[in-house]
């Protein structure tokens, strides 16, 4: 489960308008996450393929004993089944998983990303189609495995200049995601897809106290801050404070408590940090949200 507050790289945020005119925020998956998912998926694929292959070998051993020398129908059937199994799993694994409602392979699910349709410029968000999934996965071999084979062959000198061509080819495809804003690989371009973060976020408990009767422990009444004392901080600091309160670590609370006291000129006491911070959080948020209603935003402590 991902923590509720994710520090998100703003360069990766994309706003897309849906049919209802709602602005959906997509966060592009990082290249590292995608590579991790790719490696995981091939580990899964390889481990299960090898397990099934061993099963086939084991079966073939039994069949061989039954049929005697000279080959047989059963052995041939096993061979065909194995060939088809290999073809279907190699090509079908990604397609089947990405066509499912979650739009992600096992590896992608683990790192919390999914495939989505890239919105056409000027139009709204689009739905992911089966054709797009097929298309993006058909390019996979050319993008990675074919160049890899060429790269492995190249140093032997057997392929000569073809090996060099393979290396150049490999670079073009493998580095493709680094040469465009949306980190698209060749398959994404041809299919009109992109890969976005798909975290499952749990609803965190409300931090601000409800009427004092409901939560007497957060003694909002004990600490009262003047307007000037609240005016020193903005939304950024509020979010930091929120994170500190949610993480509930003693050391960081003491540090933040001290920092705030120094800033507003109070004499920091000891032992009541959480109550102090909770009170400050509620009153600061109330003040800033009040400003929002009048169209005033204070991004951080440096803004006026």
């Amino acid at each position: 489960m991902t923590s509720a507050i994710l520090p998100i790289d703003h360069k990766r945020r994309r706003t897309v308008f849906t049919a209802e005119g709602l602005a959906l925020t997509f966060v592009l998956a990082s290249r590292g996450a995608r590579f991790g998912a790719f490696v995981l998926d091939y580990i899964f694929l390889m481990v299960s393929a090898i397990a099934v292959t061993l099963l086939f070998v084991w079966l073939a051993g039994g069949v061989g004993a039954l049929d005697g020398p000279g080959g047989s129908g059963a052995g041939e059937f096993l061979m065909i089944a194995w060939t088809l199994f290999w073809f279907i799993s190699w090509n079908g694994y990604f397609m089947a998983f990405e066509m499912s409602p979650r739009g992600a392979t096992l590896g992608k699910r683990i790192v919390g990303i999914r495939v989505a349709a890239r919105p056409v410029s000027g139009e709204g968000a689009a739905r992911l189609t089966a054709e797009a999934v097929i298309s993006r996965n058909l390019l996979r071999d050319v993008e990675f495995f074919l160049p890899l084979v060429l790269l492995v062959v190249a140093p032997s000198g057997e392929a000569g200049s073809a090996g060099m061509a393979g290396a150049a080819w490999f670079l073009v495809f493998a580095l493709f995601p680094f040469f465009n804003r949306d980190a698209l690989r060749a398959g994404d371009i041809v299919a009109g897809t992109w890969v976005v973060e798909a975290p499952k976020v749990k609803l965190a408990t409300a931090l601000a106290p409800h009427p004092p009767a409901a939560s007497p422990d957060l003694a909002a009444a004990t600490y009262r801050f003047s307007d000037a004392e609240l005016a020193v901080y903005g939304e950024h600091e509020l979010q930091t404070l929120e994170r500190v309160l949610r993480e509930n670590g003693q050391e960081s609370m003491i540090a933040v408590h001290e920092a705030i006291c120094r800033k507003i000129g109070w004499n920091p006491g000891r032992g009541d940090e959480r109550a102090f911070l909770a009170a400050y959080y509620v009153q600061l948020r109330s003040r800033l949200e009040g400003g929002l209603r009048f169209g005033r935003r204070k991004a951080d402590k440096f803004s006026p």
Partner: protein
């Protein structure tokens, strides 16, 4: 004093009251979406299915309001993730694989093939040129045969071989044993070549054309070899059984690659990215058809070709398959433009 306190409390609570009032709806949406995501459709009650669009809109408007009025980062992060997940389910691909496949066979495939007809003509021209070039090169200098035809094929079928030896290479097997394994192998091999032809289209289609040229030059060279011993018809018939299907499939795969490459090189008025994406999806439909055709081709290659011996019979099977594909792709027009009923 109490007045100030009351004001603070009221203000502090406003965004939280908003949240508390809607929290249950969000959580219900969350659980419906979770069940949809895991594919447990049957566990969804009718009430939940009916409620989904309304709950989605509620959550979406909650998010819009929260963005403007609330500074509760955790709640906004939760809502953004929830609305995005719900959007994927509400607007996700509702059709399962079976539905997609029925639509694909019942018009989707033939429509996609018709829509890339200029690319089919380009690929066809290149393939014909390749075959002619292969023939001409070998006719002028037999040494070319060795560079054009991969050595694994050049068992007995080499320049200078007698007519009998060549004829024997076109012979039949006595029984079907071993043939289905051969078919599976052929299928995998040809599917690989076709996927490659398509994928190479990404580089503006040029490598695709080169690949087609090379494959067909091999065929042209072999054609010359058999023709030089007066076996042109026998060879064509031998090839036609599966060749009309297989070469058609490779033609379509090449055309799909060219289609993508052409869209990227000449996007027209659209942006390169959207042109490439539209072309890629159309081509993907064609590619799914190519894989199906290759399954047919492998079966034809393994059984009828090896078991049916008469040249005329072979020719008949090959022509019938060709006529069938042509009819399916170009004469079969069911209007499935809109969503199926």
């Amino acid at each position: 004093m109490t007045q100030v306190q009351g004001a603070i409390e009221a203000a502090a609570l406003r965004s939280d009251r908003f949240r508390l009032a809607r929290e249950d709806d969000w959580k219900r949406l969350d659980s419906i979406v979770s069940r949809l995501e895991s594919g447990r459709l049957r566990k969804l009650s009718d009430d939940d299915v009916l409620a989904l669009p309304a709950l989605y809109r509620t959550a979406a408007s909650s998010l819009a309001v929260a963005r403007e009025t609330s500074l509760d980062a955790a709640t906004i992060a939760y809502l953004e993730a929830l609305v995005r997940r719900a959007w994927f389910q509400v607007y996700g691909p509702r059709q399962g694989f079976a539905r997609w496949f029925a639509q694909f066979l019942g018009g989707g495939l033939s429509r996609a093939v018709r829509s890339i007809w200029p690319d089919i003509l380009i690929a066809l021209a290149v393939m014909v040129a390749g075959a002619i070039a292969g023939w001409m090169l070998v006719a002028q200098d037999q040494e070319w045969y060795w560079s054009l035809v991969p050595s694994q094929f050049a068992d007995t079928r080499v320049p200078g071989a007698s007519r009998d030896v060549l004829l024997q290479a076109l012979g039949t097997e006595d029984s079907a044993a071993g043939l289905s394994g051969f078919a599976a192998h052929l299928f995998q091999n040809n599917a690989g070549v076709s996927i490659l032809a398509f994928a190479l289209g990404f580089a503006f289609g040029i490598p695709t054309l080169l690949l087609l040229l090379k494959e067909m030059a091999t065929l042209g060279a072999m054609m010359w070899l058999f023709a030089s011993q007066g076996l042109a018809f026998e060879f064509s018939a031998w090839l036609a059984v599966h060749g009309t299907t297989e070469l058609f499939a490779i033609l379509l795969a090449g055309a799909a690659g060219v289609h993508v490459g052409r869209a990227m090189a000449f996007p027209g008025e659209r942006a390169v990215l959207s042109a490439a994406a539209a072309a890629g999806r159309r081509a993907a439909t064609v590619m799914a058809g190519v894989v199906l055709m290759l399954i047919f081709a492998a079966l034809l290659e393994a059984f009828p070709r090896q078991l049916v011996s008469g040249a005329w019979d072979r020719m008949l099977i090959g022509s019938a398959m060709l006529a069938l594909w042509l009819a399916y792709f170009f004469a079969f027009r069911r209007n499935t433009q809109g969503a199926p009923a």
